[in-house]
């Protein structure tokens, strides 16, 4: 044993220094475009993000995936230059660009060194306002999506996520189908579908430009006015997505992966919409249940039982109710034991109030980590994008830490009791049925069905 060297008592922390989320200014141009500028002059770099109400929630039935395809097609050619030239020009200015759509919005984003901002922004505006949607690039991008879907069949993590949403949401819900479309919908989308979606949804009335970094408010607004001031039109907000559950009783779904050394487990049900008034109590309850490394589920499954490399839980916050899910991968022969522990932890957090000590693990973490989340221009731009998309109050960031600290142990208990539904849990396991089916059935946690890697019921 080594001689004692470190002082045996932990140092006391002094008072924290004040921190405020970066100041930002929000204005609306005459054409309806929202503009947010956050001057963060720390390094000579700027991140830009254009968010538009053109996410998967805005798609019409049969065209699932068009939101993502449209976003990606922005970078595949304009009326002035082809896709190769677009990519190459951005990159010669050192601009890292991306375009994608999630459930509630599409986002065109860029990070560039400040001296090249003007040039890069003019091309940013060109791809946004004058996309050409070349047929050839569309068919290539569709093929890339189909390749991703094909790869999923042997990729257990992604497959488990995909199957989970399919078993949780009713067939009529957009949320039951993959965010970026499935084989049937993606195959059916043609240039006209993309063009129509773009024309209908990409309008300044439903869009916001966010600029963060080494730029002033005056210059940012002037840049937006100059490049996007002539853009016109508006768009009705995307209609509400149904978040109807597939079933209201517990069931187990095994998706076959022969000889799998591990089972990918997903346990959960339909969660809550982002606008829910109990957002903060639910956030803390989830952090303690499975959101933190030191959460109950991770400590139980990893540090006590060594079933897994890691286990966590989350609420996926969307405009309508996204899923609540516990995720882990465990050694195949302990699949049922792990599932049982997950069910026990969900029951336990609903049964008794957490101690004050446990509560502050989550509240002091989320309070303290707040400034660490916003170190980069890109992360600040994303936070401001969320503020816009979910229509959060302007003082959301300034009041965030107080809202976290305000949550009590009773709030957590009420949230867990009210919003976790043990009797409605869907247990989805991608694994080897010959090893896991009998023990899972013996759990007596609900009826067990077995599916192939495409989700078709066996026998």
């Amino acid at each position: 044993m080594t001689a004692a060297t470190t002082p045996s008592t932990r140092p006391q922390a002094g008072p924290p220094r004040d921190y405020r989320f970066p100041f930002f200014e929000r204005v609306r141009l005459d054409n309806g475009l929202g503009v947010i500028v956050a001057p963060v002059p720390k390094l000579p770099i700027v991140s830009a993000a254009l968010v538009v109400d053109a996410g998967a929630a805005a798609e019409s039935a049969g065209a699932e995936g068009v939101a993502q395809l449209t976003a990606r097609m922005l970078l595949e050619g304009t009326r002035k230059r082809n896709g190769d030239a677009v990519g190459e020009q951005f990159e010669r200015w050192g601009a890292a660009v991306g375009a994608s759509a999630d459930w509630d919005a599409a986002m065109l984003s860029m990070t560039v060194l400040a001296p090249r901002l003007e040039e890069a922004m003019s091309l940013f505006a060109e791809v946004l306002l004058e996309p050409a949607f070349p047929e050839r690039e569309l068919s290539r991008i569709k093929a890339e999506r189909l390749a991703d879907l094909l790869q999923l069949r042997t990729e257990p993590r992604g497959l488990a996520d995909e199957m989970f949403t399919r078993f949780v949401y009713d067939k009529s819900s957009r949320y039951a189908r993959p965010e970026h479309g499935d084989v049937a919908s993606v195959t059916s989308i043609d240039r006209a579908t993309v063009e129509q979606f773009y024309q209908a949804r990409y309008r300044p009335g439903g869009a916001t430009l966010i600029l963060v970094g080494d730029i002033t408010v005056t210059n940012g607004v002037a840049l937006a006015q100059r490049l996007l001031g002539d853009w016109s039109g508006t768009t009705p907000p995307a209609g509400a997505v149904s978040d109807k559950p597939a079933r209201t009783t517990r069931a187990l779904h095994i998706v076959r992966k022969e000889d799998a050394p591990q089972s990918e487990i997903r346990v959960g049900h339909v969660g809550l919409p982002r606008s829910h008034p109990d957002y903060f109590p639910v956030l803390i309850a989830n952090a303690l249940l499975g959101g933190l490394f030191s959460s109950r589920i991770n400590l139980n499954l990893r540090e006590v039982h060594a079933y897994t490399y890691g286990a966590h839980s989350s609420f996926d916050w969307r405009r309508a109710a996204g899923p609540f899910v516990v995720s882990t991968a465990v050694k195949s022969d302990v699949t049922a034991e792990a599932a049982k522990e997950i069910l026990l932890e969900i029951a336990r957090i609903r049964a008794d109030a957490v101690s004050e000590d446990e509560l502050t693990l989550a509240t002091s973490y989320l309070d303290g980590v707040f400034p660490i989340r916003y170190e980069t221009t890109d992360s600040i731009a994303r936070a401001l994008a969320a503020l816009t998309v979910y229509d959060l109050p302007k003082d959301y960031f300034d009041s965030y830490r107080a809202n976290i600290r305000r949550v009590t142990a009773m709030d957590v208990l009420h949230a867990a009791d009210k919003y976790l539904h043990p009797d409605q849990l869907q247990l989805v396991v991608v694994g080897d049925p010959t090893v896991i089916a009998a023990p899972l059935a013996a759990l007596d946690a609900g009826p067990v069905s077995v599916y192939d890697a495409e989700g078709q019921p066996e026998r």
């Binding site: 060297t5 922390a13 560039v112 390749a147 050394p261 030191s294 303290g368």
Partner: protein, 440 residues
């Protein structure tokens, strides 16, 4: 743009780098130990990484699982990672928690062993075995992480064996191994400490001296076997791996100049021209124009000893055979080898590398990690401020010359994954075969 740097060294050999930035009330603490899987002895593959797990299991004054809890309760983020030649531990915390972060790191550097128990070792061994199943055994193409170094380095070379380790070797690890590894490698003279962000330099220095100063210097570590390697493989060894995958994927590797050398900057630019961004050759030619690949990139491993590796990583489009995939990737490589690159291509690559560099330096944790890296490998954290200039000095002539020298068939290895189930992709199964030996 320059990162401010102050360095000093404690009497026990601990090299310390401080880098102030008061824009936000946060501070990053980052420790690199100059030990990785390369230092493992035969029969103990995976030990360096298993040991990293044990460092989160408490120390003399920190209980089991308390390390994570203390940092998270303080409002901080933390982790550790193991690589071939180093292991790092890091946390970013609110700046008023600097003392706690330093105290935690010092406690486990000075007095880990009182907290080690057989039960903790057994648990972490099983956790790591699950990490292996999760990242290697149950992931399509997951074995590339160990197959590629095994192909690239001779069997007696320290970089040859698996970093995550074999199930058998993990089962063999004992508490005695823990004690020995700790005494040999986890010493102040085999570590560097970096602190970046919002702190008072005098106070930080005093804390470092108070907490780390009393930890005794180590007795020295055994020398590694010779790391030096010829600049070229001398042949093209090819391995075909049938796997539970849907699409063929090729890893084509080349021996490259070691990390930190002027030539390594040239090799990084070469890799970016081949495979970073939409304007890269792979994207333009293989993904967009010829529609051979669904994904394509190129990167370097950044190894500072022996020889580095440059890897082209290309996944086929559905319907494209493994044979076609390989032929088309090789054609792109040969084209660069034969015709060289243009000034425009170099400019594009350097501009992207520059933006990525500035982007990453925004984060205190990344800044501290880079300082530790340059301090560990070259004893010169100031190199963090040289990177941009060194990229900017790279010319098209240099890249073309390196391409000619480095990308030939006498300097290749390849790992070609093919669907084991011939129905996976009807066009991709024609040439599923056994590993083939060295050719050329």
């Amino acid at each position: 743009m320059r990162v401010p740097i102050v360095t000093f060294r404690l009497a026990n050999g601990l090299a310390v780098t401080l880098s102030e930035d008061h824009t936000a009330p946060i501070v990053a603490v980052n420790l690199w130990y100059h030990v990785g899987s390369a230092n493992e002895r035969p029969g103990r593959t995976g030990f360096a990484h298993l040991f990293e797990h044990m460092l989160f299991q408490g120390s003399a004054h920190v209980g089991a699982n308390e390390h994570f809890e203390i940092v998270q309760r303080a409002g901080g983020t933390l982790n550790g990672s193991t690589w071939l030649d180093r292991t790092n531990y890091f946390e970013t915390v609110p700046s008023n928690q600097l003392a706690t972060a330093l105290w935690l790191e010092a406690d486990r550097m000075g007095q880990l062993l009182p907290a080690m128990t057989q039960q903790k070792l057994d648990t972490q061994r099983d956790v790591v075995k699950n990490e292996r199943r999760w990242s290697v055994d149950n992931q399509p193409y997951g074995t590339w992480w160990e197959r590629l170094p095994a192909l690239a380095f001779p069997p007696d070379h320290p970089f040859h064996h698996s970093l995550i380790g074999s199930m058998e070797d993990l089962s063999e690890a004992s508490l005695e191994d823990i004690a020995q590894f700790f005494a040999t490698y986890y010493t102040p003279d085999n570590a560097v400490l970096s602190i970046a962000g919002d702190f008072d330099p005098a106070e930080a220095r005093a804390l470092v001296e108070q907490f780390f100063g009393p930890i005794p210097r180590g007795a020295g570590k055994p020398p590694l076997p010779p790391m030096e390697l010829p600049a070229h493989f001398g042949s093209w060894e090819r391995l075909v791996v049938p796997d539970a995958v849907m699409l063929p994927r090729l890893f084509l590797g080349f021996r490259a100049p070691v990390f930190g050398s002027d030539e390594h900057f040239v090799a990084s630019v070469l890799a970016a021209i081949l495979g970073t961004g939409k304007g890269s050759r792979f994207q333009r030619s293989l993904v967009r124009d010829r529609e051979i690949a669904s994904e394509a990139s190129a990167f370097t491993f950044d190894l500072a000893k022996g020889a580095d590796l440059l890897i082209a990583d290309v996944t086929a489009r559905p319907g494209v055979s493994a044979e076609t995939l390989e032929a088309e990737v090789v054609r792109e490589i040969d084209r660069m080898r034969g015709d060289g690159v243009t000034g425009d291509e170099v400019q594009r690559a350097v501009a992207l590398l520059e933006t990525a560099l500035v982007s990453s330096l925004q984060s205190a944790g990344d800044r501290a990690d880079k300082l530790s890296m340059f301090a560990t490998y070259f004893d010169e954290p100031e190199l963090v401020n040289e990177q941009t200039a060194r990229y900017q000095r790279v010319t098209a002539a240099q890249v073309s010359e390196l391409a000619r020298r480095m990308l030939g068939p006498d300097n290749r290895i390849s790992l070609l994954y093919v669907p084991a189930d011939p129905t996976a992709d009807s066009h991709a199964s024609a040439e599923v075969g056994e590993p083939v030996g060295a050719s050329r």
